[in-house]
């Protein structure tokens, strides 16, 4: 199972945006290489402006790379025919607003070559899936942002593709909407589809993704298992104390990184993992009571920030 077929393969992609007359060209991607395996949920993670959307647009054949090679399902991304197996949800999608939800999905189904006999049924199924059955006959002009995002997902799935590319699928959705999208992604995975997801929401990555690539300033910083990044290392520990005398607070204030937070005689502090024993000894000796001690594992967020910082420094 481990060496599955690469569904998406990106090799040494580079892209520069011409800046127009008198403006500097902007280098959006530099030597980007990664691959996505069959059947996995892949997270393409990076801060704003990192190059996620640019990469995705190259994969969708919307823009051309200056150098490098990208294939999806073994086909060069500049071909069109293989796209019958590919679904795409763009960032903040927008559709013909003079059409109704039903009409727009039927239109996409037709463009995708779904046979007339099957179109109706497919559209109804999708409206149901994304929870828009009740609004199917309203013009998209009257849809909310979250409803448009759902239409976006439905149109990406209208031809039952093998690979689905989602650019920030949870953006603009309320917590319930996000949960529904997560469930949908899990469901697509269960059906054996490969899901490629652009995002900067790390909790979604931790919950959903089997593998990630982290991109910062147009360069890949990490590719692999997001959980492997997290294991092991306990760096800091949060300690909560009560009944702390003012004198103790003063003596601790100097030694604790990041300072103290507290109300009255209750304080919370964060210390390096190695210093916990020392701290607790001091606190107990001064008559304080220990409320909780919780070791903090590195979170994806902290690793992510580290990766970003390294990018900034080099």
């Amino acid at each position: 199972m481990s060496e599955r077929r690469a569904v998406v393969s990106v090799e040494a992609l580079s892209k520069q945006f011409q800046g127009g007359i008198g403006r500097r060209a902007k280098r959006a991607l530099r030597d980007v290489t990664f691959s996505v395996r069959e059947g996995e949920i892949f997270g393409f993670v990076g801060p704003n402006g990192a190059g996620k959307t640019t990469t995705l647009k190259i994969l969708m054949g919307l823009i051309r790379a200056d150098a490098g090679r990208a294939t999806v399902l073994g086909h060069d991304v500049r071909e069109t025919e293989f796209r019958r197996h590919v679904g795409f949800l763009p960032e903040a999608p927008y559709f013909y607003d003079y059409l109704t939800g039903r009409e727009v999905l039927e239109f996409y189904a037709r463009v995708c070559g779904v046979e007339r006999a099957r179109r109706r049924e497919r559209v109804e199924t999708l409206l149901e899936w994304v929870g828009l059955s009740h609004a199917g006959d309203a013009r998209l002009r009257t849809y909310s942002k979250g409803m448009l995002q759902r239409v976006g997902i439905a149109q990406a799935l209208v031809h039952d593709p093998q690979v689905v590319f989602l650019d920030e699928p949870m953006s603009g959705l309320d917590p319930i909407g996000r949960k529904e999208i997560r469930d949908l992604v899990v469901r697509l995975h269960a059906e054996g589809k490969t899901v490629f997801m652009n995002t900067h929401i790390l909790s979604d990555v931790e919950m959903l993704c089997h593998r990630v690539a982290i991109i910062v300033q147009g360069e890949i910083r990490y590719e692999g298992d997001p959980h492997a990044m997290l294991e092991g290392e306990v760096r800091d520990t949060d300690v909560v104390l009560t009944g702390v005398a003012p004198a103790l607070i003063e003596s601790l204030d100097a030694s604790v990184q990041g300072g103290l937070r507290g109300v009255g005689d209750r304080i919370e502090l964060r210390v390096p993992h190695k210093a916990v024993g020392d701290l607790l000894g001091k606190a107990l000796a001064a008559g304080a009571e220990v409320v909780s001690v919780s070791p903090r594992r590195a979170t994806l967020e902290s690793l992510f920030l580290t990766a970003v910082e390294q990018g900034g420094r080099q």
Binding site: M60, R64, T80, R83, P93, F95, Y108, V111, G113
Partner: protein
């Protein structure tokens, strides 16, 4: 086979968009009103009343058809890029050329419907005014439809690489020159200089020759129309539009949609 189905899907949707936008109805209404003012103008004259009526009518139809062709044509693709509706479409199994052709035929059918409506208005007013209606009128109307096919292709070509503003200027400019290009060639041919003669000839070949599409004079004066007067311009329109669409596709396929 499925390529045609995809072109039809895009074209059908383009027509549907036009039908659901009220602006175009307004324009057609104005054109009809203008055709109607021909009655007013004609009543001011004692001679050739029917001719004035029909001249004004045809001018109204041509100008409105071409104006709509230009202003809708230049926005046709630009709006899709601007509103990002193009992302979801071009990421589907559809060739960029199919998308472009779909947009082209969709607009063309829309324009032809509008010309038909305006033509019907023309017929009604002519009948009310007792002006003669002949085959020549139908032929003249048919050539307006062909002219519009050329204009839309040119609008698409320009809008494939410039802003709508510039594209509309270029297209309108080319349309004007297109109606003068025959005169320009005639003028150049009289020149002493060999270079000037060759240059004007070359320019004539590249620019559309649109005066051939103007049978208004024939129609309004009841002149005889030969089959070649209709067939040649139709063939020319087909050839010219095809070449221009090839060029537009060539550019469109190399574009980034960002």
């Amino acid at each position: 086979m499925s390529g045609i189905e995809r072109i039809l899907a895009i074209a059908g949707n383009t027509v549907r968009e036009a039908i659901r936008h009220r602006v175009l109805y307004t324009l057609v209404f104005f054109a009809l009103a203008l055709i109607g003012t021909g009655v007013l103008l004609a009543s001011l004259s004692y001679v050739e009343r029917e001719r004035i009526l029909q001249d004004v009518g045809f001018a109204a139809i041509r100008v409105f058809a071409v104006a709509i062709a230009i202003f809708v044509g230049i926005h046709l693709v630009h709006r899709e890029v601007d509103r990002r509706t193009i992302f979801t479409i071009l990421s589907k199994p559809i060739a960029r050329s199919e998308f472009l052709l779909g947009k082209y035929f969709g607009l063309l059918v829309t324009l032809w419907l509008q010309i038909a409506v305006m033509g019907a208005g023309f017929v009604v007013i002519s009948m009310l005014a007792g002006a003669p209606l002949e085959v020549a009128h139908a032929a003249a109307l048919g050539l307006v439809a062909a002219e519009v096919a050329v204009v839309v292709s040119v609008a698409l070509l320009f809008s494939a690489f410039t802003t709508p503003m510039l594209a509309s200027l270029f297209t309108a400019g080319l349309w004007l020159i297109g109606h003068l290009s025959r005169d320009l060639r005639a003028l150049g041919a009289q020149s002493e200089s060999d270079v000037v003669r060759r240059a004007t000839e070359a320019v004539y070949r590249v620019l559309p020759d649109l005066s051939a599409f103007d049978l208004t004079v024939h129609a309004a004066r009841g002149l005889e129309i030969a089959a070649s007067d209709v067939v040649m311009p139709l063939a020319y329109a087909f050839g010219y539009a095809t070449l221009v669409l090839f060029a537009a596709t060539w550019i469109f396929e190399r574009r980034d949609f960002r």
